[in-house]
């Protein structure tokens, strides 16, 4: 391994990630024989330590209780009637039922037309057939 190759993998080496055992062994051997690359590795390892320190310091941080309360409220609202009314199959079923009821009603009306009761004049005409002649 030469210096250019070492510099390409120095951060993988410092993070102990993305390198197989063979590459890692070669890189460490190069660092042992090259002071400049050894110093680069030390820097990269220092950075890894620094970033892990930051991650550890912030490791207990999280959103406040207020966020959880708000989200649970939103979840309950979303899971209530509004959610059920948003289910497409229910809308479809209601539409089909409404259409069927409309068709049934139309058939009934056509078979049994509504006859309005006769007016008093019509009753009079029916009772006195000669009235028309009189009029």
């Amino acid at each position: 391994m030469n210096c250019v190759q070492f510099q390409e993998i120095v951060h993988d080496l410092a993070r102990d990630a993305g390198l197989d055992q063979s590459a890692r062994r070669d890189a460490l051997a190069h660092a042992d024989s090259c002071p400049r690359c050894d110093e680069l590795l030390a820097e990269a390892q220092s950075l890894t330590t620094a970033l892990r320190s930051l991650a550890a310091k912030d490791g207990t941080l999280g959103a406040s209780e207020r966020v959880e309360v708000a989200l649970i409220g939103a979840f309950r609202q979303q899971s209530g009637p509004a959610v059920h009314s948003n289910r497409p199959w229910q809308w479809g079923l209601a539409s089909v039922a409404g259409l069927a009821a409309l068709v049934l009603l139309s058939v009934l009306v056509l078979r049994h037309p509504v006859v309005s009761p006769p007016t008093p004049i019509q009753i009079l005409l029916m009772q006195t057939p000669n009235m028309r002649q009189l009029l």
Partner: protein, 209 residues
């Protein structure tokens, strides 16, 4: 709550979408803190971090049906949503640290524009660790990175994701994550070296001579 710990992520999301509040609370409590810290390290602002966390889980409530376990883990899905919300917040608000995508700007200060950590003639001093102020310096240095470098550092180094997991969150190739992280860490080393006190710099220089 405990009984849910053995369920698959897919099952948890199905239950959550079916209105199982216990499943939602379980998912929230499992992932809210990492999501919050991701948003905090990306924005440097606790209010933004809280808002982003809330928006991520609101998105899960409304659009959780889009989660496909065949495409990745639930945490990857949530971090992907968080990333989008952080970017939206930056587009909307001015106080966030700039998020520069595909920029040539590598975040160097003008005084060190010619310095490259890979250059064989210049060796920067090791970062002086072990002091409380170092963590604050590291935090500031991370926030000063351009967004596409910042997010790989936050995901891989602060959230300890693998390159593969980070690539799923960022919707890019594993090689892209690796090369961005390499560049980001080189920039961080330079920035932290610049932030060191003159005394420690001269001491480090004296040691090299």
């Amino acid at each position: 709550m405990v009984r849910l710990s053995g369920h698959s992520e897919d099952d948890l999301v199905r239950r959550l979408l079916a209105g199982d509040e216990g499943a939602f609370v379980f998912v929230y409590r499992r992932w809210q803190a990492p999501i919050y810290r991701f948003a905090l390290h990306m924005s440097g602002n606790t209010s933004v971090a809280e808002d982003v966390t809330q928006e991520v889980f609101m998105t899960l409530i409304r659009e959780g049906g889009r989660f496909d376990p065949a495409l990745g883990s639930l945490s990857g899905y949530l971090f992907g949503i968080a990333r989008n919300h952080v970017r939206k917040r930056y587009d909307r608000d001015r106080f966030l640290v700039p998020f520069i995508e595909n920029s040539r700007d590598d975040g160097r200060s003008n005084g060190h524009a010619g310095r490259n950590g890979m250059h064989p003639s210049i060796v920067v001093a090791p970062v002086d660790l072990g002091r409380g102020e170092t963590i604050a310096m590291v935090r500031d240095a991370v926030l000063s990175l351009p967004g596409h470098y910042r997010e790989v550092v936050v995901l891989c180094d602060l959230q300890e994701m693998s390159y593969e997991e980070a690539a799923l969150v960022l919707a890019c190739a594993v090689g892209t994550v690796r090369s961005r992280l390499h560049r980001a860490r080189t920039l961080l080393t330079e920035k932290l070296s610049d932030l060191q006190s003159p005394e420690s710099k001269s001491a480090a220089g004296g040691m090299r001579q």
